[in-house]
Amino acid sequence: MKLSQMAIGQKGLITDLQGDSALIQRLLELGLTDGETVEVVRFAPLGDPMEIRVRGYYLSLRRVEANAIVVEPQA
């Protein structure tokens, strides 16, 4: 499942990053590494961008960027 497809409040485990290598590198630097838990906090009024919580801080990213993050949803 892609991170962008998760619902508000849902948590997921990052399993892979796919796509443009510059984007992936930046995501990694920001701490979105394999095995990390991310939580969807909210979506902006027009449905994009989205806000997530990772490594204890809040990050905003667009849906197209969130598409690069493959997650395994947690119960």
């Binding site: 990053l17 290598s21 510059a22 984007l23 992936i24 590198q25 930046r26 995501l27 990694l28 630097e29 920001l30 701490g31 590494t33 394999d34 909210r42 979506f43 902006a44 009024p45 027009l46 449905g47 994009d48 961008p49 806000e51 919580r53 490594r55 204890g56 801080y57 809040y58 990050l59 905003s60 990213l61 667009r62 197209v64 960027e65």
Partner: protein
Amino acid sequence: MSSPRRVALVGNPNTGKTTLFNALTGFRAKVGNYAGVTVERKSGPLKGGTIPAEIIDLPGTYSLSARSADEMVAVDVLLGHRSEDPTPPDLVLVVLDASNLERNLFLATQIFETGLPCALVLNMMDMAETNGISIDTAELERRLSVRVFPVVASKGTGLDALRQFICSDNAALARSPQRVVFPEAFDSATTSLGEALTAAGVAARDTTPFLLRRALLEVGGMAEQRMRTQGGDKAAAAIDGARATLQQAGHRLVSLEAKARYASIRGVLDGVVKIPEGRRETTSDRIDRVLIHPVWGVVVFMALMLVVFQAIYSWSAPFMDLIDGCFGWLSEQVTANMSEGPLASFLADGVIAGVGGVVIFLPQIIILFLFISILEDCGYMARAAFLADRLLSRLGLSGRSFIPMLSSFACAIPGVMATRTIEDPRDRLTTIMVAPLMSCSARLPVYALMIGAFIPAYSIGGVLGLQGLVLFAMYLVGPAVAIPVALLLRRSLLKGPKPTFLMELPPYRRPNWKQVGFRLLERAGAFLKRAGTVIFAVSVVVWAATYYPRPAAVAESIEARYAERIAAAEGDTAEELTAERDRAIEGAYLRQSILGRMGSAIEPLVRPLGWDWRIGMAVIASFPAREVVVSTLGIIFDVGSDADEESDALRDRLVAAQWADGSPIFTIPVAVSIMVFFALCAQCAATLAIIRRETNSWRWPIFAFVYMTTLAWIGALLVYQVGTLIAG
């Protein structure tokens, strides 16, 4: 020791680096620019230290793999590669947000590898405590083998120890911090790459272990480029070969660094940082539930903008009157105490009226920057970008363009400078090109004058005034035009892939009033400096162009025409006639002055906009700085020296101004046409100069000037022609 110790502050954005800088230097910053790039260099002497030290505030960065101009400068300074900082700093203070050590330490571990003496500054310890986070700083110090200073920069807590450390002797500074352990294959690849590059003739300073790692990890990065230029094909082959070896050994180049660093950081922090179990709802979370709520967020956002614009207009009034009074008094003193002639006219009409007409906006600029500073300081600006991104990204901009655009409502100069935070060059250029369309504070006097004189003051429902609504509409003109312009640019000249929008949403903070006040002073100072230089110069030139040439024959012929009638008239009538004669003389002088001739020459061009030659000449005069138009109109429509937009006399004069056939020049369509022209036109030499500096080419300022001026003419034409149709 003669030269001061150089201390660099490095850290992620939103770690309070600037607050720490101000606290350490006591607000004594020297702001300059790095040569060739557009990044600000901020440095200042350490206050309260035992030895002289210079603190250098580097741009915020998440990583040393530099992508934006800001990040590139930070890396260059650390390596001693910049002409302003030709040697590496003597000490690097890595500033970290205590509530977010894990991510902040990523950059710190990269800096450890530069081999420079460094220490960690854990800022905003109070916030971490409030959030229930406890940090065992002594243990962190021991594990990383680096000094750790817990501080609250905004309150000055913990700074004494930090100052002492900055001033301690060299031996105390030099420590080698614990480094992240990379896979063995990576280390051996780095070593052999170093040997290959030395053989290829790359200088030793460019093959340090740190740079070798960066070259391997960042494909197409700065370190790699430097090695390729020096070592040619041999170097390129060596780098490609080393990467291939790593890949064969099963390492993904792109994730290798982040994996190794974050794994190591987690190990270091285990047992050092205690975060409360389960997620507690913080105050920030509660505020965000409202402020970025799909509905309430937008409502609050719009309300906030409305309040800002109302405040700019109404709060500033008494202060503006006061400034106006002062300059009026000065001008009167000159007129009363000096004999009539070029010098008195130069002082009263040129210098005092010109500079006074600009200084009067100081209160409005201060109010606007007060709001911007507070919103920036408390963390709302990032939320505004979050809310606006979808809208702006459809236009080929990003949420990050929002802050520069909003700042441009005060002045395009800080707005254009604020685009430095936009990573993507195309995004940045698009933002720079449309930012000057926003109605800056220098347009306000034009709006105020036209609205005050020609828009009826009735109110709708007793609450909303028509004049205020028209003003609000004028402020919407810029964004409305910016949309198609940005879209067109993104599809033509600045075509390219959509850039990323990764932005941290920092927790809300109480604004630091000292900081806000300091920034206000800085802005006000910059504005006054501009008033004292560019605008002063323009005023002088405009005055001269309206004063000369001044052949006595012009006055003599008019005097002769009036002489008999004045002699025949009595009392009040005589006085009135004398006044009329004097005005006629001034008008005649003006018409044949340099600027008057220019106005007459372009009259065919401005007639379709509903303007006469006098408006045309006022507009010509305001190309270097648009706010000059008010004082120029004052000089042209002959009310003497202290004309400003609140001057009733100028208003009355404009209302009374007539065409040759006796019909009024200024009708509502004309007033709106003038306002639209000023809303869209690139009448600001300083903005064009800053665009030149920021883009490092004349191409973009020329482009901005041509497209904006053309748009302004077309816009004014449409408004006047359609307006006349409706009104007529």
